[in-house]
């Protein structure tokens, strides 16, 4: 099989190719974005508010399909099977089975902690109690939440703190063994300690999967990501090693944004 690699011999897990996106009201939120996501790496998306970061991220699990009238143009290819996940022929549910997402605000379901994590498995038809137990435990451990909740798995998820709820949502997204995880400002509603927990978690998670994260927090992008993409007004301005972007960006706009001279 032809592997898609870059100069550092890293494998491409997915790639947006010339992606345009139009909201139902005609707003073009993405303009010809081409961006690779590397396997076992964290790619961070930064840029001013309204530049299309969330729009881009949400294209990866076809979230925009939930709202009538939205339109994609271009491709997002998922490797190694070379599937264009935006193709009309591809069922969005199939895509979401492989690419999971954690939202900005924790959004647990009105169910117990256990059932929240088991949800994705149940949706996939798993009902074997042993399998569910094992998977839930593994996912909660993966999200560093197990120790805090192992004695109260039947409690309602809403009784957890905000940071715990967000880790629960990560566990939920993790339980189904996704290939890519999408994070949309996952720590913007959390305090510094909870934020640190989740950042550590992501560095741990990338050993197993690929991560695309939107963040407003420049330090966060610098701390955790391997690659950083800077977007502005729906276009990709620059994409490179995080180190390079934060120390020696090739574009003036990127530098202005990063150094806070922007706008």
């Amino acid at each position: 099989m032809v592997m898609h690699k870059n100069k550092h011999n890293e494998t491409i897990k997915a790639e947006a190719k010339n992606l345009n996106f139009f909201y139902a009201d005609g707003t073009q939120a993405l303009k010809g974005v081409t961006l690779p996501i590397y396997e076992n790496k964290i790619t961070a998306l930064i840029g001013p508010s309204g530049c299309g970061k969330s729009t881009f991220l949400r294209s990866f699990n076809r979230m925009h399909d939930l709202y009538p009238g939205n339109k994609y143009e271009g491709e997002i290819i998922l490797y190694p099977d070379n599937t264009n996940i935006l193709s009309k022929k591809v069922d969005p549910i199939e895509v979401r089975m492989r690419i999971s997402m954690v939202f900005q605000k924790p959004n647990p379901f009105p169910k117990s902690i256990f059932e929240n994590v088991a949800y994705g498995l149940r949706v996939r038809g798993e009902s074997n109690k042993r399998v569910l137990d094992d998977k839930v435990e593994e996912a909660l451990k993966g999200a560093s939440l197990w120790n805090e909740v192992k004695d109260r798995l039947e409690d309602l998820a809403f009784n957890l703190s905000g940071g715990q709820q967000q880790r629960l949502c990560i566990a939920r997204a993790l339980a189904t063994d996704p290939e890519i995880m999408l994070f949309d400002e996952p720590t913007s509603a959390l305090d510094p300690i909870a934020t640190m927990n989740i950042e550590e978690l992501m560095s741990e998670l990338k050993k197993k999967l690929s991560i695309l994260i939107v963040t407003h927090n420049m330090q966060q992008a610098a701390r955790i990501s391997d690659y950083t993409a800077y977007m502005y007004l729906g276009e990709l301005v620059e994409h490179d090693d995080t180190n390079k972007i934060f120390t020696n960006p090739s574009k003036k706009e990127t530098e202005d944004y990063i150094t806070g001279k922007f706008g």
Binding site: N61, L66, F109, V123
Partner: protein
């Protein structure tokens, strides 16, 4: 800015403005209080009338007999006042109505909230709510002239007056209440919850049943409780289609009177004012009021237990 250097005149005009605003606020507050007090006053007046007319009734009939006797014959020479004969009719018709309305109403709500396109929803909801405006007399004759004859085709021994037909039509009548209220509470579930479910790879159906319905459960239960109150208090349909013969029975294919249909039949007849038969409708009315009150308390408790938290 430092207030102490502010010229005296400015301060006094500000105070004057504050004073005027305060008066306005007070007046509005008073108006609101008056309308709230009016509602409370009317309720108290109703309770007062019911209780004061029921007291002489209970001097003739002991509360024990009233609650345990199963015969209700105020017009016979041997008079019995066993409210159970009326409660059984009320409960049976209500139960049939719920069997029809809860599934239909809930499914309609789920469909409208989670499956229907914007256009379908915007057309269907007003039509559904129009059904609420149909006078119940119309529903009553609908039961008597259409539903019962249809049921008789399936089950020829069914009498013309029966609780089954009345209950079914009552169910149809309360479908819009359940559908509309349950749909409102499902719509109120934030989009983030839906997105979370879809992002896990859930289908529409799985999202609707496993996430949205539990999230909206308190509103859905509130809708059921309202529907029960509505069914318990429904008068014309049962008066027309279930016959008005007080009978202690839970058999839906029999005819029976309910609390409300008894009240309306007595109220329309020519019972002497102040007689015990006349007073009995207040005892029956009081029973109905207490039943509805209990339902409301139950609804309140359930709602508190399952309060939405998203």
């Amino acid at each position: 800015m430092n207030t102490s250097v502010m010229p005296q005149t400015i301060i006094s005009t500000r105070l004057a403005k504050n004073f005027r605003r305060n008066i306005m606020e007070r007046m509005i507050e008073f108006a609101l209080l008056c309308s709230a007090a009016f509602a409370v006053f009317v309720t108290c007046a109703i309770v007062y009338v019911l209780v004061s007319e029921a007291i002489p009734f209970f001097q003739h009939v002991s509360i024990y007999d009233f609650l345990t006797d199963t015969v209700w014959t105020p017009n016979y020479s041997i008079k019995h006042y066993g409210i159970m004969a009326l409660i059984s009719g009320t409960l049976t018709t209500t139960f049939i109505a719920l069997i029809v309305a809860v599934p239909l109403g809930t499914i309609t709500a789920i469909y409208l909230s989670e499956f229907a396109s914007h256009k379908v929803r915007e057309t269907a909801k007003p039509i559904l709510e129009l059904l609420v405006g149909v006078p119940t007399v119309v529903f009553g004759y609908f039961a008597l002239m259409l539903v019962t004859p249809l049921l008789q085709k399936i089950y020829p021994d069914l009498p013309l007056f029966n609780m089954l037909g009345a209950g079914i039509v009552m169910g149809i009548m309360i479908v819009p209440y359940i559908a509309s209220l349950a749909e409102d509470s499902m719509r109120a579930v934030p989009m983030a919850m839906r997105e979370g479910a879809y992002a896990m790879g859930a289908t529409r159906f799985q999202t609707a049943i496993r996430v949205i319905t539990p999230a909206a459960i308190s509103g859905i239960i509130a809708a059921y409780i309202l529907a029960i109150s509505r069914a318990v208090g429904e008068t014309m349909i049962v008066a027309i289609a279930a016959g008005q013969q007080p009978t202690f029975t839970f058999n839906p294919i029999e005819g029976a009177a309910t609390i409300t249909s008894y009240i309306v039949s007595v109220a329309l007849g020519d019972l002497e004012h102040g007689g015990i038969g006349y007073q009995s409708i207040f005892a029956a009315g009081l029973t109905l009021l207490i039943m509805t009150l209990l339902l409301n308390i139950l609804g309140h408790m359930i709602r508190k237990k399952y309060r939405e938290r998203y």
